[in-house]
Structure formats: structure tokens, C-alpha cells
Symmetry: C2
Subunit: 147 residues, 2 copies
Amino acid sequence: MATKTAVTEKRYRIGEFATKTGLSGPTLRYYEKEGLVKPHRSDNGLRYYTDADASWIKFLLHLKGTGMTIEQLKQYVAWRAEGDATITKRLQLLKNVRRGFLQEFEELQHSMTILNDKIDWYQGKVDGHISDNEGFANYLASLNHEE
Amino acid sequence: MATKTAVTEKRYRIGEFATKTGLSGPTLRYYEKEGLVKPHRSDNGLRYYTDADASWIKFLLHLKGTGMTIEQLKQYVAWRAEGDATITKRLQLLKNVRRGFLQEFEELQHSMTILNDKIDWYQGKVDGHISDNEGFANYLASLNHEE
DNA sequence: ACATTAGTTAAAGTCGACTTTAACTCATAG
DNA sequence: CTATGAGTTAAAGTCGACTTTAACTAATGT
């Protein structure tokens, strides 16, 4: 059996960790106050974070990126702290998040289409492909993007 | 030459228009105050909106959906009011918006991947495909989604 | 030793995007 | 003709997610 090699893990103080994660120091403290992350303390009382904390933060930021609010993240973290008994709850929460996200995603794609059409229309005007008095509504109707 | 048939266009009062656009009355007044929309007034002084206003609002909401702030929308509207001389500015603005949006879109897709992986992992735990003590980091590493 | 730079806390402030309130007037069905 | 439901305004309030401030202590380079 392999023996545990006691490689002391790297300790990041809040400034370095902020740079590493792309968050600000105050934001890290704010997340801590909200219970989203629990940094450790050195003997002198200063916070330190590890690479594991960085992975955790990254994951949280991805969840946040999918539209979860801080409150939802707190709920998730609270359930996680309760252990395996809450796994189905967490699974359900994440599935709900995914549902909302997919919905939002479709709307984003539609908005992207409209934005592209508008850009094409302006480009056409600038390049002189579209007559000076053709409105965007007409132009849109000339494409087949129904609402 | 065809004569103009004076079909009186439908007038929506703010309540009906709010329902139509999915915005609230106060939000419509707020957008008006910010100069994003200019409803008309009946003789009695009440606002009314037309179908053209509805199209305009929809378009604005699509722009907003791509990440434009109210301030950016105000800038866009201001340039629009200045006429054709600002077309290249507007085109440039929309292209910038698109650039940012595409960037954001990629991040969203990555977050979606992570979310899906996490859901699969939980599902595996619930279904017993994943051993009780396999962490998510290990599981992630077992997939080939590099950061 | 001492000047910088980084970290500590709690509390207050900011910002964007609305929402709510207050004190009105207008519209309309019975 | 009056009760009830929209609409009017300006101003204040809310909410989420931070950010800034103040008043301090710890760490570090010269």
C-alpha cells in the first residue's frame, strides 16, 4: 500500500486567490459570509485557500453562469453540507436550473438571429445593397424568420 | 396609383399594451422616461401605443436580451434619432454587442457542459452507477472535458 | 525600524433595473 | 351619478450582487 506523502498543499492568501479565481477580495469575503466557500485560517488568523477551494469556486461560478442566484447556490451548498440524504434534492434543483437555462438559451438564440439580421440590414444600407427607404420590418419580412 | 385607405390603426392603452408586450405599466413608463419608446397621446391626455410601437419594443427587448444595458439602448436610440448620419456608429455598436454576446455564449455553453456533467454524476450516484466515494473531480477527469 | 503592502472586520454605499407609493384624474357600467 | 377600475405624475423604495469605507492589524522589503 502506498504511504501518504505529506506534500504540504499550496496555501493562497486572499489576494493571490482573488487573482487566481478572477474574483475580488471583497467578493470572496462576501461569498464566505453567504456560506458559499469556507476558507481556512493560518495560526496568525489570516485566511488561506487551496486548489480544492479554487475548483469549488470555479464550479460555483459555472452554476452561477447558468442563471442560479446566490440564494439558490446557498440552498445547494446547505443541502450538500447535509450529506447524501439530500442528493435527490440537489439533483432536482440542478435539473430545474437546466430546464430554465435551456429555455433562456433558446431565447438567446432568437435574439442573436434578430441582432444578426439587424447588422446585415445596416451593412446593406452602408454598402448600398438596401435602398435608403426600405425599413427593417420589410427587410425582416423578406427573410423567413418568423416570430 | 393606390389611394391611402385611412384604416384607423389600433390604439392600445398602457394596460393592454403591457399585456401585449409582457412588460408592466410602470416599466413602460420607465422606458419612456429613459427615451426608449415614445407613445402617443389621445386628446384626453392618455397614452396610447400602436402595433408599430409593439414591434419596436420587441426589437429593443431582443437587443436587451443580447446583453445591452439600458444605457446602451439609450445611446442606440439617440443615434437613431439623429438620422442616417449615425448609421455606421449604430452598426459598430451592434457589432460590438455581438462580439460580447458570442463570447458570453461560449462561456454559457461551457457552463452547460459542467452542469450536465454534474447532473449525470448525481444521477449515477442515485442509480448506483457511480461508487459512493468517487468525487466529482475524479468523475470530471474521467470525461474528456478539459478546462 | 519603519514604510509599504496586504489582510481583518462591520457597516454603509452603489448600481442597474425596475417597483411601489401617494395623491391625484379619467373612464365606464349600473 | 356614483362606485370601481384604469391612467397620470413625481418621488421614494427594493433587490441582487457586489463595492467602498473606516479603523484597524499583520507581513515584508530595505
